[in-house]
């Protein structure tokens, strides 16, 4: 790890000022990704702004019936918070599918959104990677790409966003509250992460000097018919090959609302609201789910080693929707798929 200047501000304003004063300053929360990247010298900040003392550790109800989560709430505390377990069990389930208990104790809500891809080439400074070193090329295209993107990739980058939590947040239409030198703003989750296009060095639409302060979840009725199903190369503690967050509401056996977000397949959690809308009014049956899944993966493109993920994703969507419709969510401690 390279030496750096360390500051520990007490207020959000001080933290923003400390970040803005140095162009390559980075905020440190749980550190589970940043410290690791600093050890590999993929991240080489000259200043680390330790934001752990900022007052962003609370989970509170909003006046609109939703929940507002402080950016520094740990993944474990969030997963097991009574408000989240009862109102947003999809989010609890996705959180518990991710990482290990030790990492979930350290990793934060805001940090989870900002974690970098786990593409091998991004981590290996001896290889080409447009995300790490813009213009250097992409070692993963034509290389080791079993884990990488099948949707929304570009000729410059086929990285995936590795989060489980963000897949659920995308399905739940979360809002990201950020604060920076120009004030506070709210970013819809769909607009937070971006596709790589020709500038894969930018994972998201935050600006330098901005901090995530809260994640807001709107009120929903997605607490009964939901499931998070994650498929990976080992049964626990691995990144997703494909994961699916599905949730729906039913009235008189007809779908009234349905959300399906995919993880492990793109540079951001993948969702297609127009295709979801076509399921509204239909019966929640295999034919409907199958038609949806086929359309959702229609434009998917494999990179060789990950070609299998296209059919895997299609089948995982159908299975997860089936679990959700039956109100039999996949338990994360059970290793057989329901």
């Amino acid at each position: 790890m390279r030496p750096f200047d360390y500051v520990r501000p007490a207020t959000i304003g001080e933290a923003i000022a400390a970040l803005n004063a140095v162009p390559d300053a980075r905020a440190l929360a749980g550190g589970t990704n940043l410290v690791d990247l600093m050890k590999y010298e993929v991240a080489r900040p000259s200043r680390v702004v330790d934001i752990n003392r900022l007052p962003l550790h609370d989970i509170e109800e909003t006046a609109e019936g939703g929940v507002k989560i402080g950016a520094l709430v740990s993944n474990a505390d969030l997963a097991w918070h009574p408000l989240i377990e009862t109102r947003y069990p999809l989010l609890s389930s996705a959180l518990l599918a991710g990482a290990s208990p030790q990492l979930r104790n350290a990793a934060t809500t805001g940090g989870n959104l900002l974690q970098r891809t786990r593409c091998h080439y991004f981590y290996d400074t001896a290889t080409a990677c447009n995300k790490r070193e813009p213009g250097s090329g992409c070692g993963a295209i034509g290389g080791v790409n079993r884990n990488l993107a099948i949707l929304g990739a570009s000729d410059a980058c086929i990285a995936t966003h590795p989060s489980d939590m963000c897949v659920a947040l995308r399905a739940l239409d979360a809002r990201v509250h950020v604060e920076g030198p120009d004030g506070a703003r709210i970013i819809a989750f769909a607009d937070f992460h971006r596709l790589p296009e020709e500038t894969p060095q930018f994972d998201n639409t935050m600006r330098h000097g901005e901090l995530i302060t809260h994640i807001e979840l709107p009120a929903t009725r997605l607490d009964t018919h939901y499931s998070y199903l994650k498929l990976r190369d080992r049964l626990s503690y691995a990144f997703a090959l494909v994961s699916v967050a599905a949730a729906l509401t039913l009235e008189d056996d007809r779908i009234t609302d349905v959300r399906v977000a995919l993880g492990g397949v793109a540079h951001k959690p993948w969702r297609n609201e127009a295709l979801e809308a076509e399921m509204v009014g239909q019966m929640p049956d295999a034919a409907v789910f199958s038609r949806f899944a086929t359309a959702l993966l229609h434009d998917a493109k494999g990179q060789g080693q990950n070609d299998f993920k296209i059919d895997l994703a299609r089948r995982t969507v159908i299975r997860t929707l089936t679990q959700a419709a039956a109100a039999t969510p996949q338990p994360q401690t059970r290793k057989s798929i329901l």
Partner: protein
């Protein structure tokens, strides 16, 4: 240099350290508590697991300065004199190790698991111990040991 103060295994400890020293390196190299092991040094193996304010963490991914003021327990701080912690005793009783390198992390992780109070079954134990790898493959006996302590505490 930044000054840090910890309650380390019940004793107040302070030191001046550079901010890039991880908690793991602080424990092993500065205060010579070498029970906590460095395995992968990247948060993937769990050998460095310690308890901070009763919760389990990978000490390799924590900058020591960021935990200034915390109460830290390592494997050296578990026993009460000659009386082993119940999890330590269970690891002996169930032959829950071979080479022993991952054992301090496994034991601290198991105590964290018990403190969390979420594991109810052997299946739960296997999942909630998944952050600790054992290259000797002693998983069956490790699960036996943790299960025995969990059952005894019910």
């Amino acid at each position: 240099m930044t000054q840090v103060q910890f309650t380390l295994n019940g004793h107040s400890t302070s030191a001046d350290i550079p901010p890039w020293v991880t908690l793991l390196d602080f424990l092993r190299e500065r205060v010579h508590l070498t029970g906590t092991k460095k395995g992968c040094d990247h948060g993937q193996c769990g050998a460095c697991t310690v308890l901070i304010d009763g919760k389990r963490f990978n000490s390799c991914l924590i900058l020591a300065v960021s935990r200034d003021g915390a109460e830290i327990t390592t494997v050296e701080g578990l026993a009460d004199g000659p009386i082993l912690h119940p999890v330590q005793q269970a690891f002996l009783d169930h032959d829950a190790f071979q080479c022993g390198y991952c054992t301090p992390g496994q034991i601290c992780s198991a105590i964290g698991l018990l403190n969390e109070g979420r594991a109810e079954s052997r299946e739960d134990i296997r999942e909630y111990m998944s952050g600790n790898l054992c290259r000797c493959g002693a998983y069956t006996h490790i699960a036996d040991a943790v299960e025995a302590v969990l059952e005894a505490s019910k």
